[in-house]
Each structure stands twice: as C-alpha cells, then as structure tokens.
Amino acid sequence: MPGPLDTPPERAFALLHDLLIGPFVEFDFMRRALVGIVALSVSAAPVGVILMLRRMSLTGDAMAHAILPGAALGYLVAGFSLPAMTLGGLAAGFAVALAAGAVARLTVLKEDASLAAFYLISLALGVTLVSLRGSAVDLLHVLFGNVLALDDSVLLLLAGVASVTLLLLAAIYRPLVLECVDPGFLRSVSRSGGMVHLSFLALVVLNLVAGFHALGTLLAVGLMMLPAAAARFWTADVTRLIVLASLFGMVSGYGGLVASYAAGAGLPAGPAVILAAGVVYLASLLFGSQGGLARRLLPGRHLQR
C-alpha cells in the first residue's frame, strides 16, 4: 500500500507546505515576525502613501536616520530596553522634524537641505553613541533590527502604533488629503492646516520608531516607502493606493520571511523583507497598469475618442 506522500502531486503539496506554511507552523519566532510585519504594513504603508503624494519620500528617509541618536541614548542609559529606546527615538525624531521645519521657515535653507544636514549629524552621532558602549553586533542590531526576535512587548508596541495610526489617520484624513491637493483652498476654509501637518509628522516618527524595533533604522523606512511607490503604478485613487500599499507590505513581509527561511543563514530576515518589497516595486515599475514601463513600450492602438 502506498504511503500518504507517495503520489507526485502529494509530494509536491508536501514540498510547498514545508516551504510556505511549515516555517510558521513550526516556529514561534516566524509567526511573531509575520504578525509584526503585518501590523507594521497596516500603519506604515498608508503613512508612506501620503508621504509620497506630498513629495516627502526623502523626508521619511531622513527622519528614520534622525531617530538613531535618541534610540542610542536610550540604549546607553538602559541597554536594550524597549521603553528607553522608544522614548529616545520619538524625542529625537520630533526634535529633528521640528528643527528642520524651523530652519526652513526662518533661514534661507529649504526644508530638504536642512533635513539632510540634521540627519547626517544624527546618524553620525547615533553610531558614535552606540559604539561607546556596545559591540559591533549591537550596532548591527540597531541599524538593521532583528525581525526574528520580536518579543511580546515589541509586538504590543507595533500593534499599538498601528491602532493609533489608523485612528489618527481617519481623524485627519479629509484635511490631510486637502492639504496635499490644494493647500491654498484648505487655508481659505479652515485654520487646521498646521495642526494636520504636525499630526502627520508625528505619525511618521511614530511609525519609524515602530519599524525601527522590527527592521532597524536603515530599513524601517523601506516598509514605508517601497509599497507606496509600488502601489502608485497600479491605481490613481488615494483610497485604493492606501489599501494596495498595505497589501504589498504584507505580501513583502511574508515573501521575505519565507525566502530568508529557505535560504538559511545566507539571507537575514530584515533585509529579505525589504528586498521582497523591492521585487514588488520593480515588478510594478515594469508591469504596472498606471504608467508602468511595459505599457509605455507597448501602448496599443489609440482610441477613436
């Protein structure tokens, strides 16, 4: 009598199961990583969409770096302590965002230039601070995170940030979109523009700090911007962009984790997730229905009217 796994299709199923589902059934840390990244995708990707539409994609990048010295200071004081590093990161992120905005308003420097200045200083300062106490391994952890070591408190933080983000986004959604499309109009009907901008910057910092715990400073911004940029190739509607970007984030998280597990030690999980997001982005760039390259090269016959 043939065993349960003897026919070719059954063997193929078993193989697929081992590859795609098995790691998550078997290992707690894989499940935690997946949950963490899903939570992060739900909140960071919509924030990334708005950043992109406001032409502030690089602002996200700069602020991700700006978080480092704060988190490093927390680390210096309390070691790998979640609350200390979170508070430090939040404080540093807000400080740099506000300082860059103030410099842009009060001096001749534009906001992007002043952000670049601040984040380079922050990055250097952060790396120095971590090196003061920790080892090269600690530095790697701070820079690239460790998505396979999410404990309960980090997961709670990620879920909490996701909830706060969605609620706040819902609250400021209308003026936020209005401020992106037609800031002059918003000014003429309401005084909420400044408040909305600040709340949104707060969301950016909050999500970067959350991402920092899972993916580290350098990659946190990846899950924010890559899915958003990829989604833009598929739809020209803000609401759909937000949903699609979140989905892309989750798919990248899953794909990255599976690939990293299959590749073993050769492919660390955090970068694998961002690489997967990069693959989604490149595929969208090539095949996207809204201005993808393939559409551009093979435009089809023009219409009658």
Binding site: R174, C180, V181, P183, G184, S188, R232, T235
Partner: protein, 241 residues
C-alpha cells in the same frame, strides 16, 4: 450695507506696499471688477481680504456672518495628485461636512448638480491630472458653487480660458449676482468688465478710481493707471502718511 470695508489699508511684501492707503467699501450684493496693470496689487488685495496676507497698515473689516469663497489666480493645486473630479468638487462641502460629517444623499445630489452646472457631467471619475485648463477651471467653479458662499472672490478666473468656457463661467458669475451674492473679480478684459460688471475698482497700487464702471474706466483714468511705477525702491523712505 457694506460687506467689506477698507480703512487706510496698506498691503505689501517685505515692507514694500503693493496696495497703498486704500479706503472704501464693497456693498452687499455688488458685482465688482478689480482692474489695473500688472503689479497693481489686485491679487494682493484679494489675499488681504481672504486673510492669507496680513496688512502692513490699516484695516479690512468683514461684515459678520458672511461666508467667503476664494478662487486664486493659479491655485496651488497639485494636479498630479490622484483624486477624481467628483472628490475635488466635493471639497466645496467643507463648511458643512467638516472633519467627519457624512455626505448624504442631498449632498451628493448637490455635488452632481454643481458638476452639471459647469458642464462637466461625465467627468466625475476622471483624475484631475487629465483635465484641460478650461475643464479644470470648470471643476473649480463647481467647487465654488458648492461652497455656497455669499462673498465670492475670483482672481483672474478667465485667463487662458477659451471663449466658450469663459461664456459658461461668466453666466455663473451673473447667476451669483442675481442671487444677491457679493462678487469681486480681478480681470484683464476691459470689454468684459464694461459689459458685465456694474462696479469697477481701478487700482494702480493706489486707487485711481472706484465706482460705476462707466465713470471709472475713462481714458484719463486708464492713462493714469498705466503711469504707475512698477519697481519697488529698496531705498525708499518710510511712508509718512
């Protein structure tokens, strides 16, 4: 009854006056053209009324209980933003819907009505980036319609707009006038001003003339307006008046 009253108003940039010692008032329900050469302070005056520019001197008093709508010269509108004509027009509901207010059946009917009134029916789900200049201006007029304001400020609403669109939108302006709304429009087409606008403010940084259009746009006044010195003088002495 005046809706807007200017008292010795000076508006400007970096201490240089763009509107200099303006006094007078705009009557409720009036239809006023603001006419004058480039750099005469026409747009600046509208910005002052809306409140985005603070006076360097003097005052602008807005009658209480009035709702203002403002169409800037070239809106700081991001036309690449992925949003549909329908949603752009729906922004006109801001005063009634605010942050969370639902957009009910009546409001949706209002949006469709406004879109129909500017002749954009069928364009509802078009991305704003695909509209032509004239269609965009129609959409912005639909938003103005929906704002249902009783004071409407238009800054060069017909510049670079074709004749048919201009005629359609001008009909809306006349409809507002018929509904006793107060309309102030910055214009460059003197024939249009003569034909449609009963009141004219001829501005050349200072008021050259202000009143009935026929009495304002005389050859003498127009010549005087043209003589305005455009350049700022960085070494000008502080104004004593």
């Amino acid at each position: 009854m005046s809706v807007i009253r200017f008292t010795d108003l000076t508006l400007g940039y970096d201490r240089h006056p763009a509107v200099h010692h303006l006094s007078g008032e705009i009557a409720e329900g009036s239809l006023t053209a603001v006419f004058g050469p480039n750099g005469a302070g026409k747009s600046t005056l509208l910005k002052g009324i809306v409140g985005t520019l603070r006076p360097l001197g003097g005052r602008i008093a807005l009658g209480s209980g009035h709702r203002l709508a403002y169409l800037p010269q070239s809106a700081e509108l991001d036309r690449s933003f992925p949003i549909h004509v329908y949603d752009l027009v729906a922004m006109g509901l801001w005063n009634r819907a605010g942050l969370f207010g639902g957009i009910g059946r009546a409001a949706r009917a209002g949006i469709e009505e406004a879109i129909a009134a500017v002749g954009l029916t069928g364009f509802e789900s078009r991305a704003i980036g695909t509209l032509s200049g004239g269609q965009m201006q129609r959409a912005l007029f639909a938003r103005l319609l929906l704002q249902d304001a009783d004071v409407i400020l238009l800054d060069e609403p017909f510049t670079a707009i074709d004749a048919r669109t201009t005629a359609d939108l001008l009909a809306l302006v006349q409809r507002w006038h018929g509904e006793k709304r107060t309309v102030v429009a910055v214009l460059h087409d003197i024939e249009m001003v003569r034909r449609v606008f009963p009141q004219t403010l001829l501005l050349a940084r200072e008021v050259v003339a202000w009143g009935e259009t026929g009495e304002t746009l005389t050859p003498g006044n127009l010549l005087a307006a043209r003589r305005m010195v455009e350049a700022f003088d960085d070494h000008a002495a502080p104004c004593a008046a």
